[in-house]
């Protein structure tokens, strides 16, 4: 504990020293660095640009997505927003400067076209990432299967009890589960009229809970207001 505190103090002091060195160098080189006030304007402008413009827009988008989309769409949107937005930031200066540069070897490519291709590729990745059969869905399903194995027994017993009733697909998901890991089945049980099938058997152990695709969860449109889009 003492060592780690000393380490923290040392790293922090080193950081303060580096800040001081940077500030001192700025002062020392102020004549050779152009207009130092211009550096200040860009330092402040960057923070305002992010904290007061970009971030509120993104959180507004998050709120809208939370209101009007379901889990999968939201997941795809989060990926598209972060990856596509990053590509846009990287590609926009190219696109704005291309053809406008006195040096023809700078920005020589067709950036609007390339940006479209890259954003299209990201859109495809985003869709594929939430399409059933995706690798992550498979992994999730493996987790889910283990958890639902216990529940399955009970469900089948219940099914046997209610055999007389015309409700053969009351719990189709666990049935499809066992023979072939067909991931589509897991998120699907959402719209089914499954009236609290396992009252005492927890569907997932708490360790496995932190995925939104837990088996009993429904892909319903929740009024979240704040999904994790980047």
């Amino acid at each position: 504990m003492r060592v780690s505190t000393a380490l923290r103090m040392g790293v922090g002091a080193g950081g303060v020293a580096m800040i001081g060195f940077g500030a001192w160098t700025l002062w020392r080189l102020r004549m050779h660095i152009g207009e130092p006030e211009s550096i200040g304007r860009w330092l402040v402008g960057g923070v305002i640009g992010h904290d007061a413009i970009l971030a509120p827009l993104v959180f507004l988008g998050c709120a809208l997505a939370g209101r009007y989309t379901g889990a999968r769409v939201r997941r795809a949107l989060a990926l598209f927003l972060l990856a596509g937005g990053s590509l846009l930031i990287v590609g926009l200066p190219d696109a704005l400067r291309s053809g406008d540069n006195p040096n023809p070897t700078v920005t020589p490519l067709d950036y609007p076209r390339n940006l479209t291709i890259a954003l299209g590729a990201v859109a495809v990745i985003a869709v594929l990432s939430v399409v059933p059969g995706g690798v992550r869905d498979r992994r999730r399903r493996a987790l889910v299967q283990a958890a639902s194995a216990r529940a399955q027994e009970e469900v089948m017993a219940r099914q046997a009890r209610t055999e007389a009733e015309p409700e053969p697909e009351a719990v189709p998901a666990p049935e499809h589960d066992s023979p072939e890991p067909e991931p589509e089945a897991v998120p699907e049980p959402a719209p089914e009229p499954e009236p609290e099938p396992e009252p005492q058997a927890p569907p997932t152990p708490p360790e496995q809970a932190p995925t939104e695709q837990a088996p009993t969860e429904q892909a319903s449109t929740e009024q979240d207001g704040d999904p994790a889009d980047g």
């Binding site: 972060l82 979240d224 999904p227």
Partner: protein
């Protein structure tokens, strides 16, 4: 830091009622991904990227402004190609990482009370310095690689001093947050009362999904830009400011002859190279071409991150220096026809001047140098930044 006692400001535990709107509304940020674990995972990746950019940036600075005590590497010849390609790539990869990190910690901007003690105020100030510096470095770097300067400061100097301040603020931040980072990385984040586990709410984006999105974003940004220096990935170079084979003689250029205003002087048939030292002499282009010619396969690696291998032919610098009777270990100044600009004269430490691969090149890929590549003669040395590979050479002075 617990031993330090600062007077605490007395502020109500909750914002006054008239302020409880928008981001200050209780429960305004409901995602479970604004937590320590997400912040520390993304923050660690961002910290690694920033450390990489800082170290490689300082290497670039050192190569351009060598301290006398610092060893200058000449091998591998692609040393600078590697470090500067990594510098730009880690900076570009930091863009999605910084966006994701700032998204995760954005609610803390509205933490209440805004300031609880002097120490707390200082910590928040250091965060402001860190964030403004980080955004400044990424934006200025991003615009510099497309040679776009919509500001009134000198890019390299500003990028350099702000790098020190930003990385210092980053170290300070890591020191302050070390316990939280450790908790987050070890996944021992205590459950805050009222907070929900990720995925606890139906339909919420899970942490894994968010980290996947961050990974994909870093991946696509890297893949679509790194081809400007990793030439085997040139086919997916969609968004880099350079195509490493686009340019006269299939090599890009950093500054054209027109920009350097050397079009008439470089094409002057009376051009002569003057070499000053103990036995000074002058040579015409024809006489230079009559000296023993050597070929060096050396990359040209620009500070802006692009690089490409090329075959250069010309006279070895060491031969020119021996002819002038330069003492061993002497430094050399190379003067260009360029009238202005920071790189119109260049100092060449003896490590490069005496390197058998360092040429006063007359030809590129078997053809005479094009005007934009430095006709009639230019410097090419191993493992040096492109801006120091002086073009349109008119004089070599032994110091």
């Amino acid at each position: 830091m617990g031993a330090v006692r600062f007077p605490r400001l007395r502020l109500p535990d909750r914002p006054p009622k008239w302020l409880r709107h928008g981001p200050l509304r209780p429960g305004a940020f409901r995602s479970a991904l604004h937590d320590e674990r997400t912040a520390s995972l993304i923050g660690t990746a961002l910290g690694v990227a920033f450390a990489t950019a800082f170290v490689t940036g300082m290497i670039s600075h050192e190569l351009q402004h060598p301290a006398s005590w610092w060893p200058l590497p000449t091998r591998p010849v692609w040393f600078y190609r590697f470090t500067q390609g990594l510098h730009v790539a880690s900076g570009l990869a930091s863009i999605p990482l910084l966006l994701a990190k700032l998204w995760t910690v954005y609610p803390r901007l509205f933490a209440w009370p805004p300031v609880s003690s002097l120490l707390h105020a200082l910590e928040r100030l250091s965060i402001l310095v860190l964030i403004s510096g980080a955004i400044f470095e990424l934006v200025s770097g991003l615009l510099n690689i497309v040679q776009w300067y919509p500001w009134q400061f000198y890019f390299t100097g500003a990028h350099y001093v702000v790098a020190w301040v930003t990385f210092g603020a980053l170290l300070l931040h890591v020191a302050v947050k070390a316990p939280a980072i450790a908790r987050g990385l070890a996944n021992r984040v205590p459950q805050e009362p009222g907070a929900e586990a990720p995925g606890g709410r139906r339909g919420a984006v899970s942490r894994r999904a968010m980290l996947t999105a961050v990974g994909v974003a870093v991946g696509v940004v890297t893949v679509t830009t790194v081809g400007e220096s990793v030439t085997s990935l040139r086919s997916v170079d969609l968004l880099a400011p350079r195509d490493p084979t686009f340019g006269p003689q299939d090599v890009p250029i950093n500054r054209t002859a027109a920009q350097a205003q050397v079009e008439t002087t470089a094409l002057d048939p009376g051009w002569r190279l003057s070499v000053t030292g103990p036995r000074p002499y002058e040579l015409s282009l024809r006489e230079l071409a009559a000296l023993p010619q050597h070929t060096a396969n050396l990359p040209i690696s620009c500070v802006e991150g692009w690089s490409v291998d090329a075959a250069w032919q010309g006279v070895r610098m060491v031969d020119l220096l021996e002819r002038v009777g330069a003492p061993a270990g002497s430094e050399v100044r190379v003067v260009s026809l360029e009238r202005s600009g920071s790189y119109s004269t260049m100092l060449m430490p003896h490590e490069y001047a005496r390197d058998p691969l360092t040429l006063l090149a007359l030809r590129l890929h078997g053809q005479p140098l094009s005007l934009d590549h430095g006709y009639p003669a230019r410097i090419i040395a191993p493992a040096r930044p492109g801006v120091l590979q002086t073009k349109w050479v008119s004089r070599i002075e032994v110091l």
